[in-house]
């Protein structure tokens, strides 16, 4: 593509990429730098270089604090909860959305527009507004501060999203093969399992990644519907306390932030193409 671009333009575009990459990476590198600073270096610019950016002496104390030290009891369970809750809500919503999206894109039945419109509308409902009614119900039926009590509201974030993305993906599947299977005498169900599912797998996988990111990012539900038995990392970060009343938790927060960022960065590095396709699939089709 774009073979007609001159070498000059190409190299200028390459140069233009540099500030973009810097702008993207600097805040992340800074979080990493902060997490590697000792408590004294955090408040003392003379112990850091590059304009108070990078520590002269790297300290692993903050990582010790969150993995083996005082913040362990706050961080490790939160990390576990994040993983469990996000995986569970992702799996549930993708499975439900898979059937739903298949039906929407392949079958003719009344109400499919209603489903899509509803999915669109609810995904822009202010999350904070759902918290109080859910809290009120949860405290009465004992779901407050439990893993299922967080998975269910997370579906409100991941399910509408999954329905859309999957519906768009399923449009691109060569359905002739399914029809061919049906001509050969297979039922809808058999056609779905034998032919459609393998074709749809990449789209399903991409949807799962995007749904997982969305759940992983949640702050409001976790902040308000949990206390400690289901608290996820974003909310735990906001409640980190230092080693004592008088120390700031800066280092520990940054170390924890780095730890939770690593998995998503790996996902991005590995599945870059798929994620871009998933995010833009609706708009790209043409």
């Amino acid at each position: 593509m774009d073979d007609n671009l001159s070498t000059k333009v190409k190299s200028w575009l390459g140069v233009a990429a540099i500030p973009i990459i810097l702008w993207t990476c600097v805040p992340l590198l800074f979080i990493l730098a902060e997490s590697l600073k000792s408590t004294t270096a955090l408040g003392d610019p003379t112990q850091n270089t590059f304009g108070n950016f990078w520590p002269k002496d790297i300290s692993w104390a903050n990582y010790q604090l969150i993995f083996t030290g005082g913040a362990k009891d706050l961080f490790l369970p939160a990390l576990w909860h994040s993983v469990v809750v996000c995986l569970a809500s992702t799996v549930i919503s993708v499975v439900l959305a898979m059937f739903c999206a298949y039906a929407i894109s392949r079958l003719d039945f009344p109400g499919k527009k209603v489903i899509l419109t509803t999915a669109l509308a609810v995904s822009f409902f202010p999350v904070i507004a759902m918290v109080t009614p859910i809290f009120n119900l949860w405290r009465q039926i004992g779901l407050f501060d439990t893993i299922p009590g967080l998975i269910i509201p997370y579906l409100a974030l991941t399910l509408p999203l999954s329905i859309w993305i999957l519906s768009a993906f399923f449009q691109q599947i060569p359905w002739e093969m399914e029809q061919a299977a049906q001509v050969d005498g297979a039922t809808h169900w058999q056609a779905f399992v034998k032919v459609v599912a393998p074709l749809a797998a990449p789209g399903v996988f991409t949807t799962a990644i995007i749904a997982f990111f969305t759940a992983w990012n949640d702050f409001v539900f976790s902040l308000n519907l949990t206390a400690q038995n289901a608290r996820t990392v974003p909310a735990a970060l906001a409640f980190f306390t230092g080693a004592s009343q008088f120390t700031q938790p800066t280092g520990a927060i940054c170390a924890a932030a780095v730890v939770v960022t690593i998995p998503v960065v790996i996902l991005v590095l590995v599945f870059q193409k798929r994620i871009v396709a998933g995010l833009t699939s609706g708009a790209v089709k043409g």
């Binding site: 408040g43 005082g70 009891d73 706050l74 809290f135 949860w138 405290r139 407050f144 501060d145 308000n224 206390a227 400690q228 409640f239 306390t241 230092g242 080693a243 004592s244 009343q245 008088f246 120390t247 700031q248 938790p249």
Partner: protein, 440 residues
């Protein structure tokens, strides 16, 4: 993230923790390993100088020492600010969380929880003990709602007036007698020094306003037990206007320092520690440990302390009250054991240990006679603290104090905009907020 605290203060307390060794204290029960019959109690603690370190001299250490073969006390650290602590606890209590056995509750919201019926009733024997006179009066008052003891006094905080002896002398102020706000403002002006106060938009500002109003013989809320429809405010009164006038005067004369509107305890202490501006400071007793811990201020012998300033000449001052009460959750599965633990934690010997370990003053009067306490708070400071505590004015014990306080801070901020009309407009605003006619 309002967690900025001076590192200096941290070191000060860390060092005073090491003094713990000098107090011999026997733990209530021997903490043996977790047997089959051992119950697990969760104690929600506010962060203190000891953090979650079981040897840090704070509540974490008390939890370890008070665990017995019958129960083990685990701690859960609450966030730093009082309002975040309230949110956290309230959510659990409203959800009937049975894991809330013990909690350290700030006086700012203890009545809100009591009114909502979130606390298990205090056993009669403990009520009798609390009322028997061994506890400072302000702490008993703060643990009472609707005439009933609803929580166990743990530690009790109050403010005193810290000053430079040389500055007072230069200004010709006789510090052996009670002084008024007007007098110290004039003295600070004359000597070009500052008065450290708390006037940032936070609970500490309400503490100051409340002390000024109470010192002038008034009260912000006249009937704290009433519900929101029947509440009567006393802010729009002569006492309220006296308080407003003092705040405005501190601001207008510039004696509150350059950043009065963002001044919390730490900033006020920093002002007092800076040689050029050091004159007067109203602050909690931890100041002594902060000043007296290496690197000490060079003029440590010039530091004096006396009772909180009077709002009106001749009318006894009502110093602020703070501290923590212990409460047991209504839904706790181990109410009886939790109260046993509370009994151990609040025993005079543990209160003394905690006072030395963290600088937070005890609620039990007898503690102040202990030699170790007198040594840690020398020169009559221990006696001054207990004397101030008996006179201290609690913030109104209304279930709506959280709203009232926020409204108060907002309408009195920044201090240079406070006028004689501020109490009236604030009172009107608070009543509107409480009746759902205004947002906060």
């Amino acid at each position: 993230m309002k967690r900025l605290r001076s590192r200096r203060r941290a070191t000060a307390l860390a060092v005073s923790v090491s003094m713990l060794a000098s107090v011999g204290i026997a733990a209530c029960g021997s903490s043996s390993g977790g047997g089959a019959g051992q119950a697990s109690l969760t104690w929600f603690i506010n962060p203190d100088g000891g953090g979650s370190n079981p040897k840090g001299g704070g509540q974490a250490q008390l939890a370890a020492e008070c665990s017995t073969s019958k129960y083990k006390i685990n701690i859960q650290l609450l966030p730093n600010s009082a309002s975040d602590q309230q949110t956290q606890l309230l959510r659990r209590l409203a959800a009937g969380d049975s894991s809330v056995d013990l909690m350290s509750v700030d006086p700012a919201y203890v009545t809100q929880f009591a009114a909502a019926n979130y606390f298990a009733p205090v056993p009669a024997a403990m009520v009798k003990q609390i009322k028997s006179g061994g506890t400072v009066q302000s702490s008993v008052t703060a643990s009472t709602y609707n005439g009933k003891i609803i929580a166990v006094p743990f530690w009790a905080n109050t403010q005193v007036l810290w000053y430079r002896k040389s500055v007072a002398k230069k200004a010709g102020l006789d510090m052996s007698k009670p002084v008024t706000w007007d007098q110290i403002i004039a003295a600070a002006q004359k000597t070009h020094t500052d008065i450290g106060v708390q006037a940032a938009l936070y609970e500490g500002y309400s503490v100051w306003i409340n002390a000024l109003v109470a010192g002038a013989g008034g009260s912000i809320v006249d009937n704290p037990n009433a519900d929101y429809q029947h509440i009567k405010m006393g802010l729009n009164s002569a006492a309220g206007r006296t308080a407003a006038q003092i705040i405005r005067k501190v601001s207008d004369t510039g004696v509150g320092g350059p950043a009065l509107s963002s001044s919390e305890e730490t900033q006020a202490l920093n002002l007092f520690q800076a040689a050029s501006s050091s004159g007067f400071l109203v602050n909690w007793p931890y100041v002594w440990a902060a000043l007296n811990t290496p690197p000490k201020v060079p003029w440590i012998n010039d530091v004096g302390w006396t009772e909180y300033p009077e709002s009106v000449a001749g009318q006894p001052a009502r110093p602020p009250f703070g501290g923590i009460e212990l409460a047991v959750g209504r839904s706790s599965a181990h109410v009886g054991l939790a109260y046993q633990a509370a009994q151990c934690i609040t025993s005079p010997s543990h209160q003394a240990q905690y006072m030395i370990g963290t600088g937070n003053p005890a609620a039990a009067k007898s503690v102040y006679n202990e030699p170790a306490i007198k040594k840690a708070f020398p020169g009559g400071l221990a006696a001054l603290i207990v004397q101030s505590l008996d006179k201290a004015a609690t913030r109104p014990l209304s279930p709506y104090w959280g709203d009232i306080s926020t409204a108060l801070q907002q309408r009195f901020s920044p201090p240079n905009n406070v006028t004689s009309k501020t109490p009236a407009t604030t009172q009107q605003f608070v009543l509107k907020v409480l009746n759902g006619k205004a947002l906060l």
